[in-house]
C-alpha cells in the first residue's frame, strides 16, 4: 500500500498552498508527513474499511482504473487552460485527470440512452433468463432466474413483445445558435468547449422518463448550442461574464442525473444556450483535519469524492443513490439527501462554505464558522436554487473519519403498518442506524425477482427453511410481509449496541431479524435498480420513481392513498394492465419520514404512453400534497413540479424567491426556468 498523500492530492495541496489562492487555506493543509507517519499503521485498516463500505458499489478487484479514460479529443475543443493555478502542476503531473471518473466525452463510458455505465445493463439471455452484464456491481455477470416471471406477472409483459428503439443517438439536431462574435469570445477564453452534436445532445436531458423515452425514439427538441468545460472557479467567472456580455443562456450541468426536468432546455429559448459542464472541476483543493472539512470543486462526483477522501481515511458520508454520477454542486443546487443522513446529515447539514458565481458577482461567506446568526442564511438561497441563480464552483464540506465498522441487517415485519410503527419508534428513540429503509410487500417481491441463481443446494435449502419459518411457523402472510434493511456504522462496540437496540424495538412490533445478507442485497440493489427501467422500456414498460416527505401520522395513509390513486388513475386513463405501484420509507426524521414511490406500467395498447404517464404522475403528486406530503424531499422542483410550488410555499414565499432571482440574475442568464 502507498503511504502518504496520492500524487494528485499532493499536487493540489501544494498548489493551494503555494499559490495562496485563498485566504481561507488552513496552514496545516500542507502535507504533514510527521502526522501522516504516525497514522501509517492506520492505513491498511482504513483501506480495509473502505473496501467494506464500497462493497455495495463495486465488486472487489475492479478499481477506479476500470473507469479511467484517456483525454478526449474533440475537434472543437481547445487546449487546456493555463489559468487554473491548482491545475497547472497537476496537469503537468499527468495523473490529475485520472482522478475524475467522468471524462469530457461522457458518452465513452456512459449510456447515451439510459442510466449508468455502458457496460452494465439488464438483459435476457438466450434461455430467457435475466442477466446483469458488466463487472462493476455485485450483481454483474449473474443470472437472475426469477426476473422473467416477475415481469410477466407484475406487468403482463412478454419477451415476445419487444420495442425497437434507436441504436444510435439521433444527431440530426437543430443548428447551433451562436453568432460569430460570441464564438470568437468563447475561443478567446481558452476553455475547452464543443459544438459536437453528440456532446450537445447528451447534455440536453436528465433522467426523467419522457427524456429517456424521447432519446430512444430519436425525438429531439431544444438542445444546448455549446458545451463548455471549465476547469476551475475562475473559468466559470469568465464564462458567466461572457454570457452576460452576449446575453447568452447558461444551463449548468453536473452529473446529469436530474429527475425533475431541470436540465431540459426551454423549447422557446431563442438565445444561445451554453451547457456549462462542471465535470472537470473535480479536485479536492485541501483537507483541514483540525476542523474536519474539505474544500472541493463542485463538479466532483460522489464516488470520486468518497474514493479520494478515503485514501486519507475520511469520508463525507453523503451517499445519495445517484452518487456514482451526481456531483457535489448538483447536491447543493437541489438540496440533496444521502442514504446515511442519520449519521452524517443531509447536504444542508454538511455544508460549511459555498462559493457561487452569479451574473451579479460571486457570493460566499467570509468565514467558516459552524453556525451564524447573520440574517437569513444566504446559503439557503443557493441550496435548492436548481441552477437558476448561478454556478456553485467550490464547496467546503464536513468530513469524518471512515467508520471503523459496518454491518448490514434486515428485519421482516408481518405487514407494512407494523414496519412503519417500528420506524417511528426508532426515530422517537433517536437510535436510527446510518440507514433504515422499509420496503412494502411489492418491493420485497421485486427484490426476490432480482435474486441471483443460487450456487448450492444447501443455500436453496436454507432459503426454503427460512421461508418456511417465517410464513408457516410465524404465520406471516407472504403477500403482506415487509422488509426493513439496515446499515449500521461506527465503532464496533457502538454498532453492536445499536443493532441490539434496533432489533429489540423491532421485536415489539412483531419484526423478526432476517439476516445480514438480505440487508446487504437491499443496499446493493439501490444502485442496480436504476438500471432496470431501461430493460422495462425494451418490453413496453415505462416507469419512474418519485419521493415525498410527510409527518409520521400521515405516512401510512399517504402510502396507501397514493398507491391506490396510481392504480385508479391507470384504469381511468385506459392503461390495459394493472400497474406496479409500490413504495418504501427511506428516511426517518424526528417529525416524519421520506417516502419513495416506484410506479410503472405496461403501455401496450396506448397511443400516447408518455402523456398518459405524466398525467397519472401529476395526479399522484396532487394526491401526495392533499395527504400532507411535501412537493419534494430531495429530487427538487425543476420544471416537473413547478406548477405546485406556489401552493407549497405561498404567494409571498414565491415572491421572495422571485425577488432574489430578480436581483441576482436580472437578465435571466441562468435561464433553465426551473423552480419559479
Amino acid at each position: 500500500p502507498r503511504h502518504g498523500p496520492a500524487p494528485a492530492f499532493a499536487a493540489a495541496v501544494k498548489a493551494a498552498g503555494s499559490a495562496d489562492r485563498s485566504p481561507l487555506t488552513p496552514p496545516h493543509s500542507q502535507p504533514q508527513h510527521g502526522r501522516m507517519a504516525s497514522e501509517e499503521r492506520e492505513q491498511p485498516r482504513a483501506r480495509q474499511r473502505l473496501r467494506v463500505m464500497a462493497g455495495h458499489l463495486r465488486r472487489p478487484g475492479t478499481g477506479p482504473a476500470a473507469t479511467s479514460t484517456a483525454e478526449p479529443a474533440t475537434a472543437t475543443t481547445t487546449t487546456t487552460t493555463t489559468e487554473c493555478p491548482a491545475l497547472e502542476p497537476a496537469a503537468a503531473d499527468g495523473a490529475a485527470k485520472a482522478t475524475g471518473s467522468i471524462p469530457r466525452r461522457r458518452q465513452e463510458i456512459l449510456k447515451w440512452n439510459g442510466w449508468g455505465y455502458r457496460d452494465s445493463k439488464f438483459t435476457f439471455n438466450k434461455k430467457g433468463q435475466g442477466e446483469f452484464t458488466g463487472k462493476r456491481y455485485r450483481l454483474s455477470g449473474m443470472v437472475l432466474p426469477a426476473l422473467k416471471e416477475w415481469m410477466e406477472k407484475s406487468f403482463g409483459a412478454s419477451l415476445e413483445h419487444k420495442t425497437t428503439p434507436r441504436t444510435t443517438p439521433n444527431l440530426d439536431l437543430p443548428l447551433s445558435i451562436l453568432n460569430e462574435e460570441c464564438l470568437k469570445d468563447i475561443k478567446d477564453l481558452n476553455i475547452p468547449f464543443s459544438q459536437d452534436p453528440e456532446d450537445r445532445l447528451i447534455r440536453s436531458h436528465g433522467h426523467c422518463l419522457h427524456e429517456i423515452f424521447a432519446l430512444r425514439e430519436g425525438k429531439v427538441q431544444r438542445v444546448p448550442d455549446v458545451v463548455i468545460w471549465p476547469s476551475c472557479h475562475s473559468d466559470v467567472v469568465k464564462i458567466v461574464h461572457l454570457a452576460s456580455k452576449h446575453n447568452v443562456c447558461i444551463i449548468p450541468f453536473g452529473g446529469g442525473t436530474s429527475v425533475s426536468d431541470a436540465l431540459e432546455c426551454p423549447t422557446d429559448e431563442k438565445r444561445t444556450i451554453v451547457s456549462l459542464d462542471t465535470s472537470q472541476m473535480n479536485r479536492i483543493m485541501w483537507i483541514d483535519e483540525k476542523n474536519l472539512t474539505a474544500h472541493v470543486e463542485a463538479g466532483i462526483t460522489g464516488q470520486d469524492l468518497e474514493r479520494q477522501l478515503s485514501e486519507y481515511g475520511y469520508c463525507t458520508g453523503h451517499e445519495p443513490d445517484s452518487m456514482e454520477f451526481s456531483s457535489l454542486g448538483g447536491w447543493v443546487a437541489t438540496r440533496a439527501s444521502g442514504m446515511k443522513k442519520n449519521i452524517y446529515g443531509n447536504i444542508e447539514d454538511l455544508i460549511v462554505h459555498i462559493k457561487m458565481v452569479t451574473p451579479r458577482g460571486i457570493v460566499e461567506k467570509s468565514c467558516q464558522g459552524p453556525r451564524m446568526s447573520t440574517g437569513p442564511d444566504i446559503y439557503h438561497f443557493i441550496m435548492g436554487s436548481e441552477g437558476t441563480l448561478g454556478v456553485v464552483t467550490e464547496v467546503t464540506i464536513k468530513i469524518r473519519s471512515l467508520p471503523e465498522y459496518q454491518k448490514y441487517g434486515s428485519i421482516v415485519f408481518p405487514d407494512f403498518e407494523s414496519g412503519v410503527a417500528c420506524l417511528r419508534e426508532v426515530a422517537r428513540q433517536r437510535c436510527a442506524p446510518a440507514s433504515i429503509r422499509l420496503m412494502d410487500n411489492t418491493q420485497f417481491q421485486f427484490g426476490h425477482a432480482l435474486k441471483p441463481q443460487v450456487a448450492s443446494i444447501f443455500t436453496s435449502f436454507l432459503d426454503g427453511l427460512k421461508k418456511f419459518y417465517i410464513t408457516k411457523f410465524k404465520g406471516f402472510d407472504p403477500n403482506e410481509l415487509c422488509v426493513t434493511t439496515l446499515l449500521f456504522e461506527g465503532t464496533r462496540e457502538k454498532v453492536l449496541q445499536q443493532e441490539k437496540h434496533v432489533y429489540d424495538i423491532a421485536a415489539k412490533f412483531g419484526g423478526l431479524a432476517a439476516g445480514e445478507d438480505n440487508g446487504q442485497r437491499g443496499y446493493m440493489l439501490t444502485f442496480v435498480i436504476a438500471y432496470i427501467r431501461d430493460l422495462g422500456m425494451d418490453y413496453y414498460i415505462i416507469g419512474e420513481s418519485f419521493e415525498t416527505s410527510a409527518p409520521w401520522d400521515r405516512v401510512l395513509d399517504l402510502c396507501r392513498n397514493v398507491k391506490e390513486k396510481l392504480v385508479k388513475e391507470c384504469k381511468e386513463k385506459g392503461v390495459q394492465f394493472i400497474p406496479l405501484a409500490t413504495c418504501r420509507v427511506t428516511q426517518t426524521y424526528d417529525a416524519g419520514a421520506c417516502v419513495y414511490f416506484y410506479f410503472a406500467f405496461n403501455y401496450r395498447g396506448i397511443s400516447d404512453p408518455i402523456s398518459v404517464f405524466e398525467q397519472i404522475e401529476a395526479s399522484a403528486r396532487e394526491e401526495i400534497l392533499e395527504n400532507g406530503g411535501s412537493l419534494s424531499h430531495h429530487h427538487g422542483v425543476g420544471k416537473l413540479r413547478k406548477r405546485w410550488l406556489k401552493e407549497s410555499i405561498s404567494d409571498v414565499g414565491l415572491g421572495m424567491l422571485k425577488s432574489v432571482k430578480e436581483y441576482v440574475d436580472p437578465n435571466n442568464i441562468f435561464g433553465n426556468r426551473n423552480l419559479l
Partner: protein, 730 residues
C-alpha cells in the same frame, strides 16, 4: 326475488374467488374484464350535467339518478326493476327466513372486531384522549373521571349488534310488515351496486326520513339481501323505550343526543365512534341527512353536522374514498300522518315509549299500501370533492384536534347535502293518491269524482313529462284506481253525493278557531301527500309564476322574478346551491317540453293549451306564496313586538293567521303549519329582514323594517331585481 338474487351473488363471488391473489385481480390481464364495483358505480360529478339526450333504456346509464331531465322511459324502467320483497315472505316460513345463514360481504380491508373492541378503540383514540386531557385541564377534574364519563357515553351510545336479536327482528318484522304493507318494492340493481360499494370503500347510507319505519325497513332489507347491517345513528329519544331501545341497539342502532352543541366530550366520543367505524369499514353507517322525520312530506334541508363527521375520514386522507348512497323510501301511506298534522299545528310530539308503541298496535289492523325503496347510485365522495375542496387544508393541524370545517369545506358539505337530498327526491315513487291529493287541495271544498279522475289523469301526464316515476297500476281502469285510492284514504277524504270532500268538511256552518284547526288537520294531511310531488314541479312552477307575475315575454325578466322566488323559497324547497341558472333552464325546458311555452325568436309565449298548465302550476304553489306573504307582513303589523324569539314569533303568527282565515282574508290554511312559519322566518333572516342576536337569555331576533318592507313589496308585486351576474350567464 331475494332468493335468486342470493344465488346470483354466490355465483359472482365464486368467479372472484377463482382469481386468486391481488395480481390476478383481473383475469386475462385486462381491466375491462372485471373491476369490482367500479363499473357500476358512477362518477358522482358527472351527475351534475343535465342529460338532454335520450338514454339507452337497458344500460346502467339509464338509471342515472340525478338526471335533471329524466326521460319517461327511464321512469318506466325504474318501475320494472322493482321486486316485491314481501312476495317471498308470504310464501315461505318466516322462522326459517329468520334462522337462515347470514354471511354478508364485507369491506375489502376490514379487520373484524367486536362491538366492545370497537368501543375501546374509540376510547383510546387520540381525538378522544386529546379532549379528555383538554377538559381535565379546563375543569381541574382528573382525567380518569372524564375518561370514565367518556366510557359511559360510549356505553350509552354504542351499538351492540347481536345476530340473535337481528333474527328476532327478522321474524317479527316479517309478521308486522306483512300485515301493514301490501307490498315492499326494492330495486335490486341498487342493492347490487350497494353490495359492490360495501366491498370497495366505506359506505354511508343516506335514506330519506318520513317515518320510524325507515330504518327498520332498511335493516330488514339489508338482512334479506344478505348485506351487512348498517350502524344507524338514531335519536336518543328511542332509548326512552326501554326494552325496544335496547333491542334496536342490538340490531345495529347507536344513539345520539339530539343536541350536544357545547358538550365537547360528547362530540369527540360520538364523532370518533362514527369515524372509527367508517375507517375500518366495520359496517355501513346510516343516518338521516334531513335530521328528523319530515312532517310535511317535503324533503327537509340537509343537516351538515353528521355529514361532516362522516366525510372527515376522506377529507383527512384516512380513507381513499367513500360512497354516499342516497336511498329513497316512498310510502303510499305514512303511519304517522295524523300525528304529523297535529304536530305541525303545535301539538307536541308524544314521547316515544314502549307502552305507546303497544298502543299503536291498532294500526296493525289498517292497510298502509305499498312501499318503494330505491337504492340510488353510490356517489364517490372523492369525485364530489375533486377540484372543489383542497384537502391540504387539513395538513397544518394535527388530525386528532377537533376543528370546525373551513368555509370552503362547509360550502362543499352544504352542496353535497343538498345534492343527496335532491338525489333522494329524484328516486321517490309517486302513488296515484299523491296526484289526487294535489288535485283535491286545489279544489276545496270539493269536486266531483269525474272531475277528480279527469284532472288526476291530466296531472299524471304532466308529471310524467316532468320526469316523475308514478306507481300507476297497470291493466286497471283509471276509475278503479281512483276509487281504491279514495277507499284507502278514508281518514282524510270521503265521497258525499259524488262529491269528494275532506273529512272535516261537513260542519262548515260555524267557523271557530277550534274548527279551523280541526279542518286544517285534514288540509295538512292532504297537503303532506301533495308535497311529495312538489319537487317535480317546483322549478317549472316557479317559472310559471314568474311568467304570470311579470307579464313579460323577455327571458331576462322572467329569470329575474324566478331567481327572487327561488331565493325566498329556498328553505322551503331544496335547490342545489349555485344552480340558479340551471334550475331556471330546467324549469323552462320542462314547460316547453310539455308544450306550455313556445319560444319565437328570443321571446317566450304561453301556448293556448299551456294556460291550463301554467295556472295549475302556479295555483299548486299559491299556498306557499300566500303563506309567506302573510308571515312576512306580520312583523309590519303595528302590534308586533320589536324583539322576539322564534318560539314567540310562531305562536303570534299562528294567532294572527288564524284570525285572517276567520275573516276570510286568506284562502289557504297551510300558513298555520309551524313548518312554513319556521321556513319563512329563516328566509327573512337569510334576506336580512330579520337579524339574530345572541344574548344571555338566548337568541333574540330583531326586525329590520326597511329591508322587510322591500322584501314584502317584492313578493307582493314581484319586480325584477336584475341580477347582472346571473343574467349575463343566460
Amino acid at each position: 326475488g331475494p332468493k335468486c338474487w342470493r344465488r346470483v351473488r354466490l355465483l359472482a363471488e365464486g368467479g372472484r374467488a377463482g382469481c386468486g391473489g391481488w395480481l390476478a385481480g383481473w383475469p386475462g390481464g385486462r381491466w375491462a374484464v372485471t373491476w369490482p364495483g367500479g363499473a357500476a358505480v358512477d362518477n358522482g360529478r358527472r351527475d351534475y350535467e343535465p342529460r338532454m339526450s335520450h338514454m339507452a333504456p337497458n344500460t346502467m346509464a339509464g338509471t342515472t339518478v340525478d338526471s335533471l331531465y329524466s326521460q319517461k322511459d327511464t321512469t318506466q324502467n325504474k318501475r320494472e326493476r322493482f321486486e316485491d320483497l314481501m312476495e317471498e315472505r308470504r310464501q315461505s316460513s318466516d322462522l326459517r327466513y329468520a334462522m337462515r345463514c347470514y354471511t354478508p360481504v364485507v369491506y375489502k380491508d376490514l379487520v373484524p372486531r367486536t362491538p366492545s373492541a370497537l368501543r375501546s378503540v374509540v376510547l383510546k383514540s387520540d381525538p378522544v384522549q386529546y379532549v379528555i386531557k383538554q377538559l381535565a385541564k379546563e375543569t381541574g377534574e382528573s382525567p380518569d373521571i372524564i375518561s370514565d364519563e367518556a366510557s359511559d357515553i360510549l356505553e350509552k351510545m354504542g351499538h351492540s349488534l347481536r345476530l340473535s336479536i337481528v333474527r328476532f327482528f327478522a321474524f317479527t318484522l316479517s309478521k308486522i310488515f306483512k300485515t301493514l304493507f301490501h307490498k315492499v318494492h326494492v330495486n335490486e340493481e341498487g342493492i347490487q351496486k350497494l353490495q359492490q360499494a360495501i366491498q370497495e370503500y366505506p359506505v354511508v347510507m343516506l335514506p330519506s326520513h318520513r317515518s320510524y319505519i325507515d330504518f327498520l325497513m332498511l335493516s330488514y332489507i339489508m338482512y334479506t339481501y344478505d348485506l351487512s347491517l348498517p350502524v344507524i345513528a338514531a335519536g336518543m329519544d328511542f332509548m326512552g323505550m326501554k326494552i325496544v331501545g335496547e333491542m334496536l341497539r342490538m340490531s345495529g342502532a347507536f344513539f345520539i343526543r339530539r343536541s350536544f352543541g357545547g358538550d365537547k366530550l360528547y362530540w369527540a366520543v360520538f364523532s370518533e365512534y362514527v369515524k372509527t367505524i367508517l375507517r375500518n369499514g366495520d359496517a355501513p353507517v346510516e343516518f338521516f341527512l334531513e335530521g328528523t322525520r319530515s312532517r310535511t312530506g317535503k324533503s327537509l334541508m340537509p343537516k351538515l353536522g353528521l355529514l361532516n363527521i362522516a366525510m372527515e375520514p376522506f377529507l383527512m386522507g384516512e380513507v381513499f374514498d367513500m360512497y354516499l348512497v342516497p336511498i329513497s323510501i316512498s310510502y303510499e301511506r305514512i303511519l304517522e300522518e295524523s300525528l304529523y298534522a297535529h304536530e305541525l299545528l303545535g301539538v307536541p310530539k308524544p314521547k316515544e315509549s314502549t307502552s305507546g308503541l303497544l298502543k299503536a298496535r291498532k294500526i296493525l289492523s289498517e292497510n298502509f299500501g305499498s312501499i318503494h325503496v330505491y337504492f340510488g347510485q353510490p356517489v364517490s365522495v372523492r369525485s364530489l370533492a375533486t377540484g372543489i375542496v383542497r384537502r391540504s387544508h387539513y395538513n397544518l393541524l394535527p388530525r386528532h384536534i377537533p376543528r370546525k370545517p373551513s368555509e370552503d369545506v362547509h360550502r362543499f358539505l352544504d352542496a353535497v347535502g343538498h345534492r343527496l337530498v335532491v338525489l333522494q327526491q329524484k328516486n321517490m315513487v309517486i302513488s296515484p293518491w299523491v296526484l289526487m291529493a294535489t288535485v283535491i287541495i286545489q279544489n276545496l271544498p270539493g269536486l266531483t269524482l269525474t272531475e277528480l279522475t279527469r284532472q288526476t289523469l291530466w296531472l299524471k301526464t304532466i308529471a310524467e313529462i316532468f320526469g316523475a316515476s308514478i306507481d300507476w297500476p297497470e291493466n286497471v281502469t283509471p276509475d278503479k284506481v281512483i276509487r281504491s285510492s279514495l277507499a284507502l284514504r278514508h281518514n282524510i277524504v270521503k265521497t258525499i253525493k259524488n262529491q269528494v270532500v275532506l273529512c272535516q268538511e261537513d260542519t262548515p256552518a260555524e267557523f271557530t278557531v277550534e274548527m279551523i284547526f280541526k279542518h286544517t288537520v285534514s288540509v295538512l294531511m292532504c297537503a303532506s301527500y301533495r308535497n311529495q310531488i312538489l319537487h317535480v314541479f317546483v322549478r317549472p312552477a316557479l317559472v310559471a309564476v314568474a311568467f304570470q307575475n311579470t307579464h313579460s315575454c323577455k327571458r331576462e325578466d322572467i329569470f329575474g322574478c324566478f331567481s327572487y322566488l327561488r331565493e325566498v323559497l329556498s328553505d322551503e324547497f331544496v335547490f342545489l346551491p349555485g344552480n340558479l341558472v340551471k334550475d331556471f333552464d330546467e324549469g323552462l325546458y320542462l314547460l316547453m317540453k310539455s308544450g306550455a311555452i313556445h319560444m319565437s325568436q328570443a321571446d317566450l309565449h304561453i301556448s293556448e293549451k299551456g294556460n291550463t298548465t301554467i295556472s295549475f302550476l302556479s295555483v299548486m304553489f299559491e299556498p306557499f306564496l300566500e303563506g309567506y306573504q302573510v308571515i312576512f307582513n306580520y312583523p309590519l303589523h303595528p302590534e308586533f313586538a320589536d324583539d322576539f324569539t322564534e318560539k314567540s314569533f310562531i305562536a303570534a303568527v299562528r294567532t294572527y293567521a288564524a284570525e285572517l282565515i276567520l275573516t276570510g282574508a286568506i284562502k289557504y290554511n297551510e300558513v298555520l303549519s309551524t313548518d312554513m312559519q319556521k321556513n319563512a322566518l329563516a328566509a327573512l333572516i337569510r334576506l336580512g329582514a330579520v337579524e339574530k342576536f345572541k344574548t344571555v337569555e338566548g337568541i333574540i331576533c330583531k326586525v329590520n323594517k326597511q329591508t322587510l318592507g322591500r322584501v314584502v313589496d317584492m313578493l307582493a308585486v314581484p319586480r325584477i331585481p336584475v341580477k347582472n351576474a346571473a343574467v349575463a350567464r343566460l
